[in-house]
């Protein structure tokens, strides 16, 4: 099944945040969303999560409009990792990850499936050893992983992550990228907002590039990660190379005046 968004536009206080944005998230694939600050990436994700209603256009999963889905059904299908990883109370890590099961849970307590999903999500994000810790006493990177575990615990079919690598160390950045990739491999449709172009190259199947609310490039990774498109999107000159192991590397070199 695909999640398609067709011509979605959103105007906030006279500013056109999204302008006829069209694309498709496919299950089994990772779509990376790129663009300069203020290009509309986060707004696009919150529209896809059903948190914002675009002024026009339609977002659908299969042939169902996501804004017509029941709230809990939508919450079970679509997991959103917001940009700011807010944690407001000093709760146990396990309690925090369990919140991801909320749309699945019955009124009274959790089922075996819930517990299993929580354990699996914590193992997958290298959080199992943090289980008994308090969420606010963790480092920023540990909090980032715990919040990702919260999403994974919900086992969403569609996973939308807004800059999930912020404040992670390089090893855990790679872990999270690989984890997102693996989610796609096991059947989820994944959309990720990233700023690091080499990271984008590492996990993207498809790339959608936004500039001032408009899609300026959309397609398979190799067709989009080109010097011309990136110069247009960010106003920088990039060097595209290959690591000895064959991984694509995209490095900004200088600003184009």
């Amino acid at each position: 099944m695909d999640m398609t968004f067709d011509g979605i536009s959103l105007n906030l206080r006279g500013r056109q945040i999204l302008d006829a944005v069209t694309g498709t998230l496919r299950q089994g694939r990772v779509t990376v969303i790129l663009g300069a600050n203020g290009a509309g990436k986060s707004t696009l994700l919150s529209c896809l999560a059903g948190l914002r209603h675009p002024d026009s256009g339609r977002i659908s999963i299969g042939d169902r409009d996501i804004n017509r889905l029941d709230r809990l059904e939508r919450a079970r299908m679509i997991g959103l990792l917001p940009q700011q990883g807010d944690i407001h109370w000093d709760i146990d890590v396990t309690a925090l990850v369990s919140l991801g099961r909320m749309p699945h849970r019955g009124r009274w307590g959790m089922s075996d499936a819930d517990h299993h999903a929580i354990q699996a999500a914590m193992a997958a994000t290298d959080c199992t050893h943090l289980a008994k810790r308090k969420a606010l006493r963790l480092s920023g990177g540990e909090q980032g992983r715990v919040l990702l575990a919260r999403i994974l615990a919900g086992e969403p079919q569609w996973l939308l992550a807004d800059e999930p690598l912020a404040s992670l160390d390089p090893a855990h950045q790679l872990d999270v990228l690989d984890r997102l990739k693996q989610c796609a491999r096991t059947g989820a449709g994944v959309a990720v907002v990233l700023h690091e172009l080499t990271h984008a190259a590492r996990i993207a199947d498809d790339i959608l590039v936004l500039k001032e609310g408009r899609v300026i490039a959309y397609g398979p990774r190799d067709q989009v990660l080109t010097p011309d498109i990136l110069a247009n999107a960010y106003g920088v000159e990039v060097h595209i190379g290959t690591s000895p192991a064959g991984d694509m590397m995209v490095v900004p070199i200088r600003r184009i005046a």
Partner: protein, 322 residues
């Protein structure tokens, strides 16, 4: 400490405190005489028992609504008075005094409830349908400020100094001379409010992750806002109707039980209700025991207890920041 043990412990302490409350007062009535049917047992059954029940119920209502407010606003310093519901209930009550409440003893609590209801409706109308937290808080502060200034206006316009002093005394909050009539009026309203508050529990947990994440988890923020307005309005409105303004319970109690309950907002609700009941029952027993010419007002006693609490909080925060 597990949740169950914490709640059982608080419940046991509350029952003990209610017993103490029944024993406190100018006249000593041993428990063996409580059901004898003479004058002394009337003191227990008709004067102290309704008062004890009201103290516990008001404490529970304020403690729980404070816990919900703090969870909803994600602010450990939020207080049920913040949204102006207690202010508008007080305004209703004060206007009944102003128009001469001698007509019926039930006039004042009914006016207070009406004031709370009007306050709640205004709050819901002002905040609109977006479910936005900032709009909601702003609307509440406007309401609190308007009702506060109108109350002051009524005091300054009071026809006689006697009426003015009666208003001021009432505003200080007390449970003196409450009867079963007050219990019958306030208790069902508080119970309804606490049921509404209990339905916020799960959404409050989800709000730990912020509004966007909570909504993506299926929380209906508009429904949540309605439940908060309704629950806080009914509990606080009925508390003010029964006892005037009693501050600090809703602020202190969730604070104190939060670390014991593991910080999860939903886990804080029941212990806050129990601990609020415990605190107010003890405080109301205390004001009856303390030797003084006229009985110390409960509202003043709570404020006196509240200040050192904040001092302790301040010192702790200073240590953590240093």
């Amino acid at each position: 400490m597990t949740q169950l043990r914490l709640n059982l412990l608080l419940l046991g302490a509350l029952l003990a405190a209610m017993l103490v409350s029944l024993l406190s007062g100018k006249v000593w009535v041993p428990p063996g005489d409580w059901l004898r049917g003479d004058l002394a047992s009337l003191i227990i059954l008709e004067l102290r028992l309704p008062r004890t029940i009201l103290a516990a119920a008001i404490g529970a209502a304020l403690g729980m609504s404070g816990a919900v407010m703090q969870g909803y606003l994600r602010n450990p310093l939020a207080d049920p008075g913040l949204f102006g519901v207690s202010g508008s209930a007080a305004l209703g009550a004060v206007s009944s005094l102003y128009f001469g409440y001698a007509i019926s003893a039930l006039l004042l609590p009914l006016f207070a409830l009406a004031g709370a209801a009007i306050g709640m409706s205004l709050l819901a109308m002002l905040a609109g349908r977006s479910g936005s937290l900032i709009l909601f808080t702003l609307a509440g502060m406007i309401l609190a400020s308007i009702s506060g200034s109108l109350t002051s206006l009524l005091i300054s316009l009071a026809p006689t100094p006697f009426a003015a002093s009666e208003i001021v005394t009432w505003l200080l909050g007390a449970l003196t001379d409450r009867s079963w009539d007050d219990v019958r009026l306030a208790l069902p309203v508080m119970a309804a409010g606490m049921i509404a508050l209990a339905f916020t529990a799960r959404s409050l947990d989800a709000l730990t992750l912020g509004e966007a994440a909570a909504r993506s988890l299926g929380v209906d923020v508009r429904r949540l806002q309605w439940l908060v307005v309704l629950g806080v309005g009914l509990t606080v409105g009925a508390s003010v109707a029964a006892a005037g303004i009693i501050g600090f319970v809703g602020l202190i109690v969730p604070h104190l039980v939060r670390p014991l309950a593991g910080h999860r907002p939903s886990a804080v609700l029941l212990p806050s209700a129990l601990a609020g009941a415990l605190l107010l029952t003890l405080a109301d027993s205390l004001v009856r025991i303390v030797p003084s010419a006229s009985e110390l007002r409960l509202g003043i006693a709570m404020s006196l207890l509240g200040a050192p609490f904040f001092l302790a909080l301040l010192f702790r925060m200073r240590r953590e920041l240093a």
